[in-house]
């Protein structure tokens, strides 16, 4: 490649970053399409997670491991994703904030929340040193998920709020974060605030980001269950969200679980079973934790023929990480001191024996 070619690529890279930072994903994607067929050495591809080239061809080992890690993470192949992120950290140099973030997210999804928190804080430290606001936003959001799942809702809400404020104006992630903030308020018992904020998000995103509206709707259905509010459920059942939008399997599944809950309240286990079947198919293998949960609900309330555990082949996830993360920065130090413990979801493993598997709903950010 001649020097002009290099220049051209860097210029495109620069533009991709600018578009992403301005929240203009569409323009960033248009530019990315021009890069197809070239090895993705460009950070923009990792940002958008919309790559089509082969990760194995990336010449830089650190970035290659990171790309492979994210590929596997988004395929719910958590164990291999963790392996790749650890490899990236071991050869780590300039992309450590990315690899630590990846490992933190994998550990979070595996329910290894204590370790997840530590790696996310390390990522945050690297991100802060590099003035990488986008990564910082992701770290705070991911920490929010960890604190949410461990029941530390107040600090979770602080993290989501911080994530939202660090994001550039116009970012499409804002809708999601507003939903997260509303959901977390609900978990804190501020139901009126949560309900109002979710309706606001639902209608606010309806035209610009209908996928997000689906998530708001699913969270409102969740609230109807948490509050045992049949009036809210009846109203939600009359809502017709836009049908032609992408990535709505997750909210659709939770809505089906909510419907199943209300059918069970009316002792209609047949209808509940149908809803749970639908939910399981929406979750599919892409969401193994959620699928495990729904299978458990089916096993408990509908038919004993379902085996919840067949959907979690990665349940044995106690691999050892032989490297230690950096200690957190001063402004994040208190986050490292909040008491949490590793409590793999699966203690979900003994869901079959728990009093009410619906209670496990609280772990899901919906």
């Amino acid at each position: 490649m001649d020097s002009f070619g290099h220049y051209s690529e860097f210029a495109e890279d620069k533009l991709i970053f600018q578009h992403i930072n301005a929240g203009d994903d569409q323009s960033a994607n248009t530019l990315l399409k021009k890069l197809q067929g070239r090895p993705a050495i460009f950070a923009g591809k990792v940002y958008l997670r919309d790559w089509t080239d082969k990760a194995e061809e990336i010449p830089d080992a650190e970035l290659r491991f990171i790309r492979l890690g994210w590929d596997k993470y988004y395929s719910a192949n958590y164990l291999d994703a963790a392996k790749n992120f650890i490899e990236a950290i071991e050869v780590g140099n300039v992309w450590l904030s990315w690899s630590c973030l990846g490992l933190g997210k994998v550990l979070s999804d595996l329910g290894r929340w204590l370790e997840s928190r530590n790696w996310l804080l390390a990522s945050l430290k690297y991100s802060r040193e590099q003035n990488d606001y986008y990564r910082m936003a992701e770290c705070y959001g991911s920490l929010g998920e960890v604190f949410f799942r461990t029941g530390n809702y107040q600090v979770a809400l602080e993290m989501f709020s911080l994530d939202k404020q660090i994001l550039p104006p116009g970012s499409s992630f804002r809708y999601r974060l507003e939903n997260y903030m509303a959901i977390t308020s609900g978990r804190l018992g501020a139901y009126e605030i949560a309900t109002q904020a979710l309706w606001q998000s639902y209608f606010g995103a309806l035209n610009s980001n209908p996928t997000s509206s689906w998530y708001s709707l699913a969270s409102l259905f969740t609230l109807s269950v948490f509050r045992t509010d049949s009036n809210l459920f009846d109203r939600l059942s009359m809502v017709s969200p836009p049908s032609d939008c992408p990535y709505i399997d997750m909210p659709k599944a939770f809505i089906e679980v909510a419907k199943a809950y209300w059918h069970l309240k009316e002792s209609d286990s047949s209808q509940a079973g149908n809803c749970l079947e639908k939910a399981a198919s929406f979750f599919s293998s892409r969401y193994p934790v959620e699928t495990l949960w729904v299978r458990t609900l089916m096993c408990r309330f509908v038919s004993k023929n379902h085996s919840p555990y067949s959907t979690a082949p990665w349940i044995d996830n106690d691999f050892v990480i032989n490297i230690s993360p950096l200690s957190p920065g001063l402004v994040d130090r208190r986050l490292a001191e909040i008491p949490i413990q590793n409590q793999t979801f699966f203690q979900f493993g003994d869901m079959a024996s728990c009093e009410d598997p619906f209670e496990k709903w609280k772990y899901f950010l919906v």
Binding site: S161, L162, I166, L188, E192, Q196, D229, L330
Partner: protein, 333 residues
């Protein structure tokens, strides 16, 4: 020795009265409060002090005064401000400068006239250990560069919502406006003007809407490339069944990590100074400085402007925190 009149004998006002006994340059010679029982108690303890039940009663005696100290509930300043102006005396007002920036500017505009001035009582930054730390950082050939700040203030109080402080209109706010004012001012004295990134307000563990008085606030901010975290709580962490007070500031700098609280200053865990009676000294010192200003006719016009960044941060924090949760009152569904 300058003679001061104290208006308002709530808990803060009584602290000023107590402090004046230790002041080398200022003496409180008159007090004013609408509560007759409080006046009787003061009279019994300090028979040398003249007591008045209203500002109008006190006004004819202004010739015997050199300055006023105001320590009233936040909402009571507006109605009496014209009367205060008629004293035509320098004023030391208990913080905050106003319930919001607009009110603060309104008060300040009156005291921009020649011959009078307005100061606000901000104790924290005058505390010996914090003053020591400020000097330490600024001294030397090249001042330390501050990269990160973490500041915490837990008042250790159980009760949050009582009296006028429980009314959002009268108080103008809760933990953030009252204790946060001190902490934001203290941090600003080290870092300079901060830019708010995120603010969360809490009331009984739930997000505080604009109808609530927050008992807890957390702020993330930046000043240049310095990251700042501030936590304020009316209560505190529980230990052995008791609510713990806490007040400390950490600074990560090019020198290392400083810690300061009311008992001293440390660098990377090594004590640099010890401060046993620090807090007792601070309020008399503040009165001494006020007396100095009066005696030397030193009108520090900028002292008030210096606080507008604090007011701005507080106001932004309220706006930012409530942007997400403007109200909690809706019908279910």
């Amino acid at each position: 020795m300058v003679n001061l009149g104290l208006i308002g004998l709530g808990s803060q006002g009584l602290e000023h009265l107590e402090a004046s006994a230790f002041s080398k340059k200022a003496k409180i010679t008159m007090v004013c409060d609408s509560n007759p029982n409080t006046l009787i108690k003061v009279k019994e303890a300090r028979p040398d002090i003249l007591t008045f039940s209203s500002i109008e009663e006190m006004l004819p005696n202004k010739g015997a005064l050199n300055g006023l100290v105001l320590s009233l509930p936040h909402h009571q300043y507006g109605p009496i401000w014209a009367a205060i102006e008629s004293f035509h005396l320098p004023v030391l007002k208990e913080k905050p400068l106003g319930r919001n920036l607009a009110e603060a500017m309104q008060f300040f505009s009156i005291f921009s006239k020649p011959g009078v001035f307005l100061k606000t009582a901000i104790q924290r930054r005058y505390h010996p250990s914090y003053s020591f730390l400020a000097n330490r950082i600024k001294s030397g050939g090249e001042p330390s560069r501050i990269m990160e700040v973490m500041a915490t203030l837990h008042l250790g109080k159980k009760d949050n919502h009582s009296g006028w402080r429980g009314d959002p209109i009268k108080s103008g706010g809760g933990a953030l406006l009252d204790c946060g004012y001190h902490l934001v001012d203290l941090v600003t004295s080290f870092t300079g003007q901060m830019e708010l990134i995120s603010a969360n307000l809490w009331c009984d563990g739930k997000p505080a809407t604009n109808q609530m008085i927050e008992d807890q606030a957390t702020l993330y901010a930046k000043a240049g490339n310095c990251w700042i975290f501030i936590e304020i709580r009316k209560d505190g962490e529980m230990k052995n069944g008791n609510i713990q007070k806490k007040e400390e500031i950490y600074l990560r700098t090019t020198d290392g990590e400083y810690k300061a609280d009311r008992t001293g200053v440390w660098l990377d865990g090594k004590r640099l100074m010890n401060c046993d009676k620090g807090w007792i000294d601070t309020m008399p010192k503040q009165l001494d400085e006020f007396a100095d200003d009066i005696e030397n006719k030193r009108v520090d016009y900028f002292a008030i402007w210096e606080q507008t960044p604090v007011m701005r941060v507080i106001e932004s924090a309220y706006a930012l925190a409530r942007e997400s949760f403007p109200t909690g009152v809706v019908n279910n569904g």
